[in-house]
Amino acid sequence: MNQPHASEPADDAPLVIDVRGLTKSFGGTKVVDDVDMQVAEGEIYGFLGPNGSGKTTTIRLLCGLLTPDAGTGTCLGHDILTESARIKREVGYMTQRFSLYEDLSIRENLHFVASIYGLKRPRKIVQETLEKLNLENRAHQLAGTLSGGWKQRLALAAAIMHGPKLLLLDEPTAGVDPKARREFWDEIHRLADSGLTVLVSTHYMDEAERCHKICYLAYGKLLARGTVHDVIAQSGLATWHVSGTSQRRINRLAHDLAGRGGVDMVAPFGTTLHVSGANDNALDAAVAPWRGEDGLNWRKVEPTLEDVFIHMMQGASDNFG
């Protein structure tokens, strides 16, 4: 599960993002609520959380696109409240929604971005970028006619063209096929190896596992952070893995267990079932009557990141929803 990363940043690496108490409300609702975030140089920091939890809003606060209602801190050593102009120069931001010009060709888009950042010899840089992306023969295609995956690659290219020190990627791989996703992440790791810091939001668990550190946001509150292993350990969740001989048995078991005291979560995966609970003993007691049944194979496992997140999400909705 935990892939070893060759270039995990040193513990004493300087902080690229260091904010405390970040808060933002829209129409009276706190969308980002007292969020602290520390990201060290060279780190790939995963940003997870359900829809509407405030990930995009937090990223916008970091790069000065939104003004926080409360909170202080620095991004790349610049004050997020007063020096957003400096931050913008050194940050590459890839928005969740494609935000390059759809009625401009790929080359025109890149050329525009290069000129706005005042890059020397924009033509040459654009050409190099096109070659790197393998987009030379499509350079004249309008960006709006690209497929989703290509749009994402174009957006990434546009975000890193000016050589930023911090990359903010908002769901960069949504709707991208597995191979392209793998390549995308290989590229992110290459960039991080060269010293770039990356904050990336995602809904994919496998991507979370490729991050050096992750944090989990729900209803605007930061519920967990650390390495994947830390987050799973901190959750204190106990999980039974049940495999059965038939789909019907598993379905019936899922139905019987759902909502019982001690069982917080029942998640079927085809002919297997994950049964989790925050209290180990209560969970064991709850499932005891079914332990001896024929055709069911019970095994205690470490919960997956997904189990942990869904559990946290339920807890969060109980507390704040």
Binding site: L65, T95, I116
Partner: protein, 377 residues
């Protein structure tokens, strides 16, 4: 640390032109709207209404009266639809719009004519629509000099070589200024520019917001003034093209004279177009979507048309409306463009209106730049 950069401005302008070129429909509209309006208005200008309802108020019944009536009907402009017996009745007919004209023959008309005393022939014209009455009025004047020739003999006949025998007195009602149609075409330039310029910048900006490209633009190091000028300058060029189209058509199709300096006109045009674009830019900072931007444009466009002196004579408006009109750029532009094209005015004559226009431009630009947000809040 971030100073205004011509390089960045150039990038923004180039981008805007590419987008303009790609958006075929809008581009066609930019050039099509002036042509279309010109043809529509041009038809109105050219229209030479005939057979206008006319009442006769004759206080002198003689052979001359009959000759006049026949002459009027032969001229095609006038249809005698009724006869008024009293002045009040005549007044009533014209006020209710039953007739466009009342031809009034005063008592002793034939006697005075025979004595060579040039009697008055009165024409009351409902001039609310001056384009409708202009030609008819001219027709009557011509008619009056020739129609009586056959009826006059002897010593009277000798008079016809010289001045006309009657004194045609035109009494224009409801529209003292009696503007000619020449007023309309130069004014049309201003109206077309007001409408298209405001709408195009307002849309160009809100489009960035609606399509989400604003988020990207805002994360890049651009200054508000650069964004604003990047939106405005490309459209100034479009404004010049539109003006050229209208002027060329006005000159060749409608034979509107161009008396004054085209250079001076171009100079005025620059600031007028910029003023409208600044208004459009301001609207785009207020509007949440393109529909709202269009609504705001109409909200500005209507008073511009109504209170600027394009539709109604400026001096005929109540004072409060005149004050409102004085604020609008179109008002000042109309005065300048009419002055330059029709009267051959030079720089000295347009200074007051130019100053007012500049004040408007500066004021609106300040509002626009203050309204422009560098964040998404």
């Amino acid at each position: 640390m971030r100073r205004f950069s011509l390089f960045r401005l150039g990038a923004l302008i180039r981008k805007e032109f590419i987008q303009m070129r790609r958006d075929r429909l809008t581009f066609a509209m930019m050039l099509g709207v002036p042509v279309m309006q010109l043809v529509l208005f041009g038809y109105a200008i050219n229209s030479d209404p005939k057979h206008l309802p006319t009442a006769l108020f004759s206080q002198d019944h003689s052979v001359f009266t009959r000759t006049l009536v026949k002459g009027l009907e032969n001229s095609d402009y006038f249809d005698i639809v009724g006869e008024a017996r009293t002045a009040a009745e005549a007044e009533d007919m014209i006020r209710t719009g039953k007739v466009q004209f009342v031809v009034q023959i005063p008592p002793g008309f034939s006697r005075d004519m025979q004595r060579g005393q040039r009697p008055q022939l009165l024409l009351d014209a409902d001039a609310t629509d001056p384009a409708a009455t202009g030609n008819a009025v001219a027709g009557l004047q011509l008619l009056a000099t020739t129609v009586f020739n056959r009826d006059l003999q002897g010593s009277l006949a000798a008079q016809r070589a010289g001045t006309s025998l009657v004194d045609v007195v035109i009494h224009r009602r409801y529209n003292a200024e009696g503007r000619t149609e020449l007023n309309i075409v130069p004014g049309l330039i201003g109206v077309i520019l007001t409408m298209t310029m405001i709408i195009f910048t307002a849309l160009a900006m809100t489009r960035e917001i609606e399509r989400g490209t604003m988020e990207n633009l805002l994360t890049m190091p651009v200054r508000p003034l650069e964004v604003m000028m990047g939106k405005i300058l490309p459209y100034i060029m479009i404004g010049y093209i539109q003006t050229a189209v209208v002027l060329a058509a006005a000159y060749w199709l409608f034979e509107v004279p161009i008396v004054g300096s085209l250079w001076l006109l171009s100079f005025v045009l620059f600031f007028f177009v910029a003023a409208n674009l600044a208004v459009g830019f301001t609207f785009s900072t207020l509007a949440r979507n393109q529909l709202q931007a269009i609504q705001m444009t109409i909200f500005f466009f209507l008073p511009s048309i109504l209170l600027s002196g394009f539709m109604f004579p400026f001096r005929g408006m109540p004072v409060w409306a005149q004050w409102l009109g004085e604020v609008l750029p179109l008002t000042h532009f109309l005065r300048m463009v009419r002055g330059i094209l029709l009267k051959g005015n030079g720089f000295a004559e347009i200074v007051p209106d130019m100053a007012a226009l500049l004040a408007f431009l500066v004021g609106v630009s300040i509002v626009a730049l203050n309204r422009y947000r560098q964040t998404l809040d």
